[in-house]
């Protein structure tokens, strides 16, 4: 398989607290990888390490086979090829949605502002928000904020999109619409996606592959498709995580 992002023997965490110990993970080009696990298992920490926001204690994060910590240029160049959707959307409140989407373009390209605006409009089109381009983030709903955040993350046509709990705080319908949007972007643009979540319906709806982290092991305890983990796993921790919600199974059938 064609790896775009690799985590090699990663040991890391917050300040002195060990969260991840000897984690190995590979993200293949074009796939949707979902990282799951109970609260406090280090899902978000792993994502922070992958994004270069936290420096590994030891081990490597490779993007396109280059260590992102090799030099600050490599890190900067890698970040240009990534898009991130934060949990709250993290839109700047004093800018309109359009201006929020224009931010990465301002930072990384030197095209004129009207050109940026046109690109930003096309991105808002992708998430069906072009009509709200001039609204402030506070004036639109939570789901729309997430979609605008997604448009901003896609502004530079990233190779990898990261999502931190995309469906947190959304109702089931909005959440499943967002899942569909994520899936359709993955299909049409072939963007690789890394998603941290613990919403079972989302996991079944969008994932190509799932890895599960465990807080005691500080490591990955299971890997496979969502159905494989649900049906075939003998590990009681995995079964407990997937077992409690029956309706997802019916949806899958």
């Amino acid at each position: 398989m064609n790896a775009i992002l690799q985590v090699e023997n990663l040991r890391g965490g917050w300040e002195k607290q060990l969260v991840l110990d000897d984690v190995n993970l590979q993200v293949n080009r074009g796939e949707i990888l979902v990282i799951v696990g109970r609260s406090g298992c280090g899902k978000s920490t792993l994502m922070q390490h992958m994004l270069g926001l936290l420096k590994p204690w030891s081990g490597k994060i490779l993007f396109n086979e280059r260590d992102i910590w090799e030099s600050s240029q490599v890190l900067q160049e890698s970040r240009r090829r990534w898009g991130v959707l934060f949990q709250s959307g993290a839109l700047l409140g004093n800018l309109t949605l359009l201006e929020n989407v224009m931010l990465p373009l301002e930072e990384y390209t030197d095209i004129s502002r009207p050109d940026m605006a046109l690109v930003a409009y096309s991105k808002l089109d992708t998430v069906d928000l072009a009509d709200f381009a001039d609204s402030n983030p506070m004036e639109v709903s939570g789901g729309m904020q997430k979609r605008a955040g997604l448009a901003r993350a896609m502004a530079l046509d990233p190779e990898v999109l990261f999502f931190d709990e995309p469906s947190a705080g959304l109702d089931p319908v909005t959440s499943s619409n967002l899942d569909n949007l994520i899936k359709s972007i993955n299909k049409s643009l072939g963007t690789t996606m890394v998603i941290v979540t613990h919403e079972l319906p989302s996991i079944f709806a969008i994932s190509d592959r799932v890895v599960m982290l465990d807080p005691e092991e500080h490591n990955i305890i299971a890997e496979g498709t969502a159905m494989e983990l649900k049906e075939n796993s003998t590990d009681s921790r995995v079964r407990a995580f997937f077992g409690r919600e029956e309706f997802t199974e019916k949806k899958e059938e």
């Binding site: 240009r80 004093n94 990384y108 050109d115 046109l118 690109v119 409009y121 530079l156």
Partner: protein
């Protein structure tokens, strides 16, 4: 694949190979600019996307704008082999091309008047909101007085420490410095006329009547009024105030009255402290800069000051405490939205409470002229 390999020009036929990415934009722009004349002269441009699965938005936009520019000049554009994603990208650009992007609205004389009116309206609305808020506080306060056991005394003590005890160093230092400076400067001027014996009286009056209470109020507004607004504002943003309401707390008796009672207790003592340390500063100035014996200074003080001078300052400070606590809490409760609203509320709390303190001071000094013996004729 290098940028140079992605664009192949054959006559007027431009073929795109591979995915044209964001970092190819600069090369694309230079390339198009260089070959512009070819297309203009021939009157046509053929775009061949058959070897390109897709194109990033930024180079896509540049290419699109270029085509539009050529088309307007009458160049005939043909596009072949474009994938669905390229088609839809271009369609999206076409759709939004006319949407004018304007960063700021036009500001004319009309809008200035509008802003002015809106500013006045907002200010009056704030004042009326504060008026009702003060009414509710009074209501809660009376309830507390009738049932003193219901007062959250631990919180009151906490805020007394925060707003009073911790303010002692800054209040004492600043009034000491101010007293020294005033004593020195006024004494120096008066020496020229041989009137330095009046310096203690001048200093004592200005400090006890105005400077002491006012400086203490300004410092408390800056330290504690802003802290009240920030604390309640942050709770409001995090929906903690809503949570309190849902749990059945009376937000006034929980959030506002403990702060106000604490300030009511500590403000008079801060003013007393400010007075003492200001007058002591004058004494230091007299001894060190003006060769003024300490005994003369004290006996002159005794002749000039009456108990009302001290008590008046402390009474005024009670009014200031009510203003500062109310404005701080009111600005905090009013916070809506995100973190930036908290910052704005903090600033507004300080500015408005200082404004109201000075206004109240002006009104009270009109009264003081009539009750202080030796002032009215």
């Amino acid at each position: 694949m290098k940028s140079t390999d992605k664009l192949i020009l054959d006559g007027t036929q431009l073929s795109i190979h591979g995915v044209l990415e964001t970092h190819d934009t600069d090369y694309l722009r230079v390339f198009l600019e260089k070959n512009k004349a070819v297309f203009f002269d021939a009157g046509k441009l053929g775009l061949d996307f058959s070897d390109s699965p897709g194109i990033d938005s930024v180079p896509g936009e540049i290419l699109y704008k270029f085509c539009r520019q050529l088309a307007r000049a009458g160049v005939k554009i043909t596009r072949i082999g474009a994938s669905k994603s390229i088609d839809s990208l271009f369609a999206s650009f076409k759709k939004h091309e006319s949407a004018s992007y304007s960063k700021k609205r036009q500001i004319g004389i009309h809008e200035h008047f509008e802003d002015l009116g809106e500013g006045v309206y907002t200010f009056l609305k704030t004042l009326s909101g504060l008026w009702f808020f003060a009414g509710e506080t009074l209501n809660a306060f009376i309830g507390m007085i009738l049932h003193p056991l219901k007062i959250r005394w631990p919180m009151v003590f906490y805020y007394m420490e925060e707003t009073g005890v911790k303010a002692v160093p800054i209040v004492a230092t600043l009034t000491l410095l101010l007293g020294t400076v005033m004593g020195y400067q006024s004494g120096f001027q008066m020496q020229i006329f041989g009137a330095e014996n009046f310096m203690p009286a001048l200093l004592a009056y200005s400090i006890t009547w105005e400077i002491g209470p006012m400086l203490a109020a300004v410092l408390v507004a800056g330290r504690s009024g802003s802290a009240f607004a920030a604390e309640i504002g942050t709770m409001q943003v995090r929906q903690e105030v809503d949570a309190l309401r849902v749990m059945g707390f009376d937000t006034f008796s929980y959030l506002v009255t403990p702060k106000m009672i604490a300030l009511l207790f500590v403000m008079p003592f801060l003013v007393l402290l400010a007075n003492c340390s200001g007058i002591f500063g004058g004494l230091l100035a007299g001894i060190f800069f003006l060769d003024f014996p300490a005994s003369t200074y004290i006996s002159e003080l005794g002749k000039a000051l009456i108990p009302l001078d001290i008590i008046w300052g402390m009474m005024k400070s009670v009014i200031y405490a009510v203003i500062i606590a109310n404005v701080g809490c009111f600005m905090g409760i009013r916070v809506r939205g995100g973190a930036s609203a908290v910052g704005k509320a903090t600033t507004a709390a300080v500015v408005l409470s200082i404004f109201l303190v000075i206004l109240a001071d002006a009104l009270m000094s009109l009264l003081f002229v009539h009750i202080r013996p030796g002032l009215s004729v």
